[in-house]
Symmetry: C2
Subunit: 429 residues, 2 copies
Amino acid sequence: MSHVLHTSGLSQRSRWAADQAISFLMQQGVENPGCISLAAGLVDEDSLPAEPVRETVVTLLSDSASARSALQYGTTQGRLDLRGSLLDYMAAQEGVPRETLGYDASRMVVTTGSQQLLSLLCETLLDPGDICIVGAPTYFVFLGCLAGVGAEPISVPLDENGMQPELLEQALARLNELGRLPQVKMIYVVSEFDNPSGVSVSLERRKAIVDIANRWSIHNRILILEDAAYRDLRFDGNPLPSLLALDGSKEQVLYTQTFSKTLSPGLRVGFGVLPKDVMKPVLDRKGNEDFGSANFPQAIVTRMLKSGAFQEHVRHVRDSYTRKRDAMLAAAEKYFADIPGVTWRRPSGGLYVWMSLPASIPTGFQSPLFQAAVKQHGVMYVPGELCFAPVQGGRPKNHMRLSYGVQTPEGITDGMWRLSRAVKQVLAG
Amino acid sequence: MSHVLHTSGLSQRSRWAADQAISFLMQQGVENPGCISLAAGLVDEDSLPAEPVRETVVTLLSDSASARSALQYGTTQGRLDLRGSLLDYMAAQEGVPRETLGYDASRMVVTTGSQQLLSLLCETLLDPGDICIVGAPTYFVFLGCLAGVGAEPISVPLDENGMQPELLEQALARLNELGRLPQVKMIYVVSEFDNPSGVSVSLERRKAIVDIANRWSIHNRILILEDAAYRDLRFDGNPLPSLLALDGSKEQVLYTQTFSKTLSPGLRVGFGVLPKDVMKPVLDRKGNEDFGSANFPQAIVTRMLKSGAFQEHVRHVRDSYTRKRDAMLAAAEKYFADIPGVTWRRPSGGLYVWMSLPASIPTGFQSPLFQAAVKQHGVMYVPGELCFAPVQGGRPKNHMRLSYGVQTPEGITDGMWRLSRAVKQVLAG
């Protein structure tokens, strides 16, 4: 026999799973150790909650009943006490009493980060050839999930107020003309401080998107997948209700959020609120995948939500990221304002600044800019083109996603200076 | 629009995911609170390592470098330090120096329990219509994984020494005659203290199964999926090399194991050793599913393996389960020996005793026995028929899986007495 696994030894679906660009970026980091990464979406190491988690674990494991409950199997849906605390958390975020949320703990599921829930929802709801509408740009890992189930992303452009409802409506009308409306199953919306663009969807647009999804649910329900990963990292302005809160039926929106950005990615606790009829297939599938995410981190998060340790920690995290965001925007002003054709967004939260170069300057892995940035100037970013689904006329190639998550304010300033020198060098040709 | 999600709103694959029998069993437990469960595959609550985990976490989070490393994102493949420690653990289990294992940390992956790895391997390697050979009986949750990808399980009977090589060879020959050999992708073997039958595969048979898989890899490689979940729960006899250790090529066996049974299901840390060419597609898929299992529990397990706290704990756990196994076998002898046609296996490890009733006595959820046991006598078991893939002539219906995992020795004795009364009542008809 041959001990080589031929391509035919893999499942069809396995062949759809694309290489993760993230692996290439990590490799670049390893190969260029002096490089300042404005690419990584990791969180600030100094803000990781070592002390509060330690105190929580000591309390949790000192009592024999709570220790047992934390170290035993949980359930596929996630700890009931956590789902209860998450209702309070959602009520606080929405600014309403828990009783008026319109759903209960049976509608909540706990997952391994919100990533697992994004993946489960794609697996559960999308067949090959089905369509999911996404922003242009959008979260590039989610594009990998869609590819993994053979679904087709259709792009709708964002502006500074998020996905544009009139363009969403146009896209649906065009798909309808093409007879493809029945394949449209989902609209993916990063509602707050979008990865990568940093923008949030305005209140008016949230209402409009929910309305559009409802009105165009002609052949089948078009669900909105609301990814609120960065919701609790708001630095400025007033909180907005989620699309879920604006959905009167509570059957149109799949809501996902995570504690990876606000508390600790190492605990890897995400959650979602799902329509009743979607919950069962998601749990059936999750039962096959892992019959439940790690229970111990769930017990830790539960206790930190109840004790207020989470809420206190997230205030520190917000303060820290606010300073970093400010450092990046100040450095952008200082080093990029004099470069013609360079623009950037000013996020009110989250971890990312979206910067656009003149259309003639590509930013991709093989571009002169990326090569100069990494190899000569020692700075790394995420090429914007990774964040676009294929579009007519080709993906825009002149954007960069810049993250202020991991670097110190000084590192951010230094990184931005380095990047500006790389851009100027390439512009000078 | 209708707010009802029609069946057509779910993906094709979603419709394959079967109801988990486990949910039904849990429901029975909830509805019959006085019931002694000999069904649950949970672990002994008294043996959960509250104290060692607490000490480990305190040490881990007191040092700022190790705290950061534990609370930050990990990698999709799992912590490198854990994979290193797992090599030492594998070497200890195989009784060979680490250098002669024949693989390194690049061949190891860490998952959310071993269940996630079973699921990932099915997703990655099996297409609808593909065949996986399983034992009769076999782990019923794995049958759910196969159903979830539309693969077909073909049964090969076990006896007290595990899967029977001559019957495996016959099954492959028959599939070859039918022109179906190219669809055979995998042989699933629970090598130690099988769930549900309690049997281990003898050394001679391990060699024979590896040899058969190799010889029948004519059209494509037939992989052996070795599930060693209970390997470290050996009470009697000498350890055996894994099928992986017996595979000279190290490209025929997919090895999976978990710390859920030996340490804590709440930490939910499993791992595997995979052929090089299978690792990449598995990681691509895991990248989509969750880009890495929770890192914090991985850091805990790493430290416990290194400090010896794990090894010390597993000795306690083995002692505890040995007493429980003995209690169940003594109770079987005491209460069932006088019932004609009742037989049971004597496991040398693991968590299960497989008991067979006269062929005329069905044990399924709707059977008079199950109903009498749960409702009148207050005892619950797992009906054996759940553990069989569909077979010609129908699934055997007269077996029970009895677990001594969660009950105390006294509870086990009481449960066995109750069960014997239910059996006698049904036999008396």
